[in-house]
Every structure is written in structure tokens, then in C-alpha cells.
């Protein structure tokens, strides 16, 4: 996605927001920062936690009475197409039968808030703002159509459950903590299997069940070192990689026959 349409969309959203949410003027500003904008994954990486700090800046237009803020932080990793398959018993054995394709879904997805999503906003707002794993848009190919399905769909819930088991999808409704009424922090756990790429972080500020403002930041996960070099070579230069591996095998075998010649 280029910057232009997203800016246009943001502009439109702001105009719409101003038109509909006429009552309170959106005067808060969010200032956020992550502890590290570039996480390097080394061969012995076994998970890490990033910290996101932020502060809610009020100005003269902010109603003085407004103090009860809610925050929802959404971290979305690089997107990819995935297939979820279901096993069924056929001829006495368990085999893959049915499957669904998930299109351009985040490989990592984390949703954090300071209290349960249903306490922050109404179900309608939850859905529109994609609060919680049940409300995040996960596009499936359903026949010729592209659509998200109901949260309790077997394939969708299995998909979310399996990703969650690996720590790649997570939701924590008490992860955002307010240090002062306007200063907050949250941890972003990144498991060992974390996919590499750009991670978008979206921070939404709610008050009295309505979205007040939002901001975005990003960080990047890069793998460095020998193992990443190996992975890149395998994908980009399959032939060279195969040749080197085969040569390595022959060398190892040859070395062994020299070392253990006595036997």
C-alpha cells in the first residue's frame, strides 16, 4: 500500500469523524515510541519483549472533565497467505480433507488493552475498530468470494487458536498499564518463531466508548548471522545451495572415511 491512499483514507476518516462525532472536539494527541525499532534475531534468539511507551497530550480544547481513557494497541506483523486444513476420518485413518485459504493475514498479531474490550466500547464499535481477535478482519477465500466469516467459524477459530499456541497471535486485556493518568506502557512479546519483516503498531485512544484519536508506529524484525544467510541462499539460489550441501555431504563422508580408516 502506498502512502497516498492511506493518507486519503485517514483524511476522509478525520472529516467523517469531525462530521459525526460533533460533541467532543478531538483534541488529544498520542505520542508513542517503542524501545527498539529494529529487532535483530540471532541464531540463539529465544524470544524477546519490546516495550511501547506513550503519553496522551491534552490541549486547551480537551474537556477538563475527561480523564477516563482506554487504550488499545494492535501489533500486526508482515502479511502472508495461509491455508488451514482439517483432518477427517476416512477409511479408518485421519487425512486432510477440507481446507480454507486465508488471504494476506498478519503472520503475527497482538492486541493489548488496559481493560476488556467489551468494557471499552460497544459491540458495534468493537467490530468497526477491530478490537480483539474475534473482531479482527481475517479474509478468507470462500468459493469465488473474499470475506471474513463469523468469529465462531470452525476454520477461523482453529486458525486463531493454532497461531495463539505458537504465541504468534495474542490478546491481553490487561497488558496496557497507565503509569500516570496520561502516561502508559505495554510490552510486546516476540516469541522465538517470530516472522521477519515490518510490524505495524496502531494505538487507539478511546474515551466513553468512542474513538478519540489514534496513531501509528512501526518496528522491524531482521534476522542476522549465518542462519539467515543460509535461509536466503536456499530460497534465492536453490542450485548453488544444493550443490554446496551435496558437496558438504561428500566432504563429511570422505573425512569420516579418513578419520576412521583403521576400522
Amino acid at each position: 500500500m502506498t502512502a497516498r491512499p492511506s493518507l486519503a483514507a485517514l483524511g476522509l476518516a478525520l472529516v467523517l469523524g469531525a462530521a459525526f462525532a460533533a460533541a467532543p472536539a478531538c483534541a488529544e494527541r498520542l505520542i508513542v515510541s517503542v524501545s527498539n525499532h529494529r529487532v535483530t534475531v540471532t541464531p540463539n534468539y529465544s524470544g524477546e519483549e519490546l516495550v511501547l511507551f506513550g503519553s496522551i497530550e491534552k490541549d486547551a480544547a480537551t474537556p477538563a472533565t475527561r480523564t477516563n481513557y482506554d487504550l488499545v494497541v494492535t501489533v500486526a506483523g508482515p502479511r502472508a497467505d495461509m491455508v488451514t486444513r482439517r483432518k477427517e476420518r476416512k477409511f479408518g485413518i485421519w487425512i486432510n480433507t477440507d481446507y480454507r485459504q486465508f488471504l494476506k493475514v498478519p503472520t503475527y498479531l497482538a492486541l493489548f488493552s488496559n481493560r476488556p474490550f467489551d468494557a471499552i466500547a460497544s459491540p458495534e464499535v468493537e467490530r468497526r475498530q477491530q478490537l480483539g481477535l474475534n473482531n479482527v478482519l481475517l479474509t478468507q477465500r470462500v468459493g469465488p468470494d473474499y470475506a471474513d466469516v463469523v468469529p465462531n467459524d470452525a476454520f477461523r477459530s482453529a486458525f486463531v487458536r493454532l497461531r495463539s499456541q505458537h504465541g504468534l497471535y495474542r490478546e491481553a486485556t490487561s497488558a496496557v498499564t497507565f503509569l500516570t493518568p496520561t502516561l502508559f506502557r505495554t510490552g510486546i512479546p516476540l516469541p522465538a518463531e517470530v516472522p521477519i519483516g515490518t510490524y505495524d503498531v496502531e494505538i487507539k485512544l478511546f474515551s466513553d466508548g468512542a474513538l478519540v484519536t489514534k496513531t501509528e508506529t512501526a518496528f522491524e524484525i531482521v534476522k542476522v548471522g549465518f542462519e539467515q544467510f543460509v535461509a536466503n541462499t536456499a530460497r534465492q539460489n536453490g542450485l548453488v545451495y544444493g550443490l554446496v550441501t551435496a558437496f558438504m555431504a561428500l566432504m563429511t563422508g570422505w573425512m569420516a572415511s579418513i578419520v576412521f580408516r583403521k576400522d
Partner: protein, 308 residues
């Protein structure tokens, strides 16, 4: 010590993999087999994707069979002509195998195929070996002389045309069954991640009547070339060969094999066959159970295309 495997995409304990390599190497040295049929399942059982296990074990077997082939070559226990004819079928079989592998992977049925072929192959071969070993032991107990080789009994295989003289093995045989055997071994080797020695050797002895002096060395040459070829094809088409994993396995494997070979010399042939039969049977049963019982999770996810 944790190490991240670049292609398998999971962190593993180096010593665990090294120990597995050594254990399988020990067994393979003891029985004079490649050990792929044990290595691939073990890797699958510790959580490495079957596809990656199959592709990586291919290079591991290449290493151990090369080390074996060198020592057999020194002892002139390899029939080059026979090896060449086997290879002509073997390379085609390997290419077909890798092609089938790729096709089934895209259909989501690869894991099933791998498991099913393990069940069928291992229970059959394991059962036969076990039975053979048991009968031999019983016969030896009863003191009946074991007919070593029914020479002169030529089956239909020996009536086929295109006969060729294999000098070092001192046999006169049609090339057709030899090419077909190479083809089959190459095919299952590429699909299942095994060298195929434990099937090839009995076929060569009982069906093709290759003398025992050249059978193991020659079968190792076939294993070596098909596995090098399979490594290349898996690397080029599926990008699934994990070189780091393969290297750890190789180092463990070749070391274990030497100690295994020594241990093997101390056990009698029938007992060895009985043990190997049991081992193969056990691995086959493990796969069968996996297929029949209800899996912990009916759902699986696979990434089909990264879009960044």
C-alpha cells in the same frame, strides 16, 4: 545449546540432534544400512516438518553412504557396471519422486503420503525380516542345515532379454529388472527420505542373485548418487533442505556408524536380522498408530505465500 534451524524454522537443541544422529548412525553401522528410515521418522517425531525432514535426511544419507562407498571401493567390493545400470533407473526414479513430492505438497497430502508409505513399507519389510530371522534361529536350534543359495533355480527374471555380463559380480543378467529396481528405489528414496538400502539389498540378493561380496558396496553407490541427486532436486524445487540440520546429523551419524559397525560384528547374523526386523516393525507401527488414533488437533496451518 539451542540452535535455530534456518529452513526448518524452529530452534532445536544441538546435542539432541547430534545424539539422534549418533544413535541412528550406530544402528546403521551395526546393520549395514543407511538409517534414513529411522532418521526421518525421528526428526518428524521431534517436530520438524515431514517435508523438511525428508529433504534434509537425503543429504545426511549421501554423507554416510559416501564414507561407506569409499571403504567398499578400496576392498573392490563394488561392481561398477551393475552400479551404472542401477543408476540409470535410479536417477529417473529420483526425479519422478521429487516431482510427486512437490505435487502432493501443493495438494496438502504430502504428510499423509509419507506416513502411509512408511506404514506399508516398514511393516512389510520389518515383518518379513523378523520372520526370516526367527525361522533361521529356530532352524539353527533344531540343527537343520540352512540351504544357503538355491543355485540353478532361475526365475522368470532370468529369462528376460537384453542380457549383460556384470564381470565383478560374475553374473549374467537382463538389464530390465536392474533398471526397474533402480527406478523404484530412487522413487521411494526421494519421497520418503530413505536411502532404500534395507529394501534394495534383499531384492538384489534374492531376486537378482547378486553375490554378497558386491551387493552392499554396489547398493551404497546407488544410494549415494540418488541421494546427492535428491538433495539437489529438493533444494532447487522445494527449498526444503536444511543444511545446518543436515550437517549436525552427518557429524553424529558418521561417528555413530563406526561404533555400530564394531558392535555389529559381535552379534550373529540371524539375531541381527531379527533385531533389525523388530526395529523396522516398531517404527512402522508408530506411524500406523499416528494415522489411526484421533489427532490432538484436527487442524493444521501452512503458509502458502509470503507477501511481505
Amino acid at each position: 545449546m539451542q540452535l535455530y534451524l534456518p529452513i526448518a524454522d524452529i530452534p532445536v537443541n544441538v546435542f539432541l540432534i547430534l545424539a539422534m544422529g549418533a544413535a541412528v548412525g550406530f544402528v546403521s553401522g551395526m546393520f549395514g544400512i543407511g538409517g534414513g528410515f529411522l532418521m526421518t521418522p525421528l526428526l518428524i517425531f521431534v517436530g520438524i516438518a515431514p517435508a523438511v525432514a525428508v529433504a534434509s535426511v537425503a543429504s545426511h544419507i549421501a554423507a554416510s553412504s559416501f564414507s561407506g562407498a569409499i571403504s567398499y571401493w578400496r576392498r573392490r567390493a563394488i561392481d561398477p557396471a551393475l552400479a551404472l545400470v542401477l543408476l540409470s533407473g535410479g536417477t529417473i526414479g529420483t526425479a519422478l519422486g521429487v516431482w510427486t513430492f512437490t505435487l502432493l505438497r501443493s495438494l496438502g497430502q504430502l504428510d499423509l503420503l509419507i506416513a502411509l508409505s512408511y506404514v506399508i513399507l516398514l511393516t512389510t519389510v520389518g515383518g518379513l525380516m523378523f520372520w526370516e530371522g526367527l525361522r533361521a534361529i529356530l532352524r539353527a536350534r533344531r540343527g537343520v542345515a540352512v540351504p544357503m543359495r538355491r543355485s540353478g533355480s532361475h526365475g522368470w527374471i532370468h529369462g528376460l532379454p537384453l542380457k549383460m555380463r556384470f564381470k565383478r559380480s560374475k553374473i549374467y543378467l537382463s538389464v530390465i529388472p536392474v533398471v526397474v529396481v533402480g527406478l523404484i528405489i530412487g522413487f521411494i528414496g526421494a519421497v520418503m527420505g530413505i536411502g532404500g538400502g534395507f529394501i534394495l539389498i534383499p531384492i538384489m540378493i534374492y531376486l537378482l542373485r547378486v553375490p554378497t561380496s558386491t551387493v552392499i558396496g554396489t547398493s551404497m553407490v546407488l544410494t549415494l548418487v540418488t541421494m546427492v541427486f535428491a538433495t539437489m532436486l529438493h533444494a532447487v524445487t522445494n527449498h526444503l533442505v536444511d543444511a545446518v540440520l543436515a550437517l549436525i546429523l552427518m557429524v553424529g551419524g558418521v561417528t555413530g556408524a563406526r561404533f555400530g559397525a564394531r558392535a555389529g560384528q559381535k552379534i550373529r547374523g540371524e539375531h541381527l536380522r531379527l533385531l533389525l526386523g523388530l526395529l523396522i516393525l516398531a517404527v512402522g507401527m508408530r506411524f500406523a498408530i499416528e494415522l489411526v488414533i484421533r489427532p490432538d488437533d484436527l487442524f493444521t496451518i501452512r503458509e502458502t505465500g509470503g507477501t511481505g
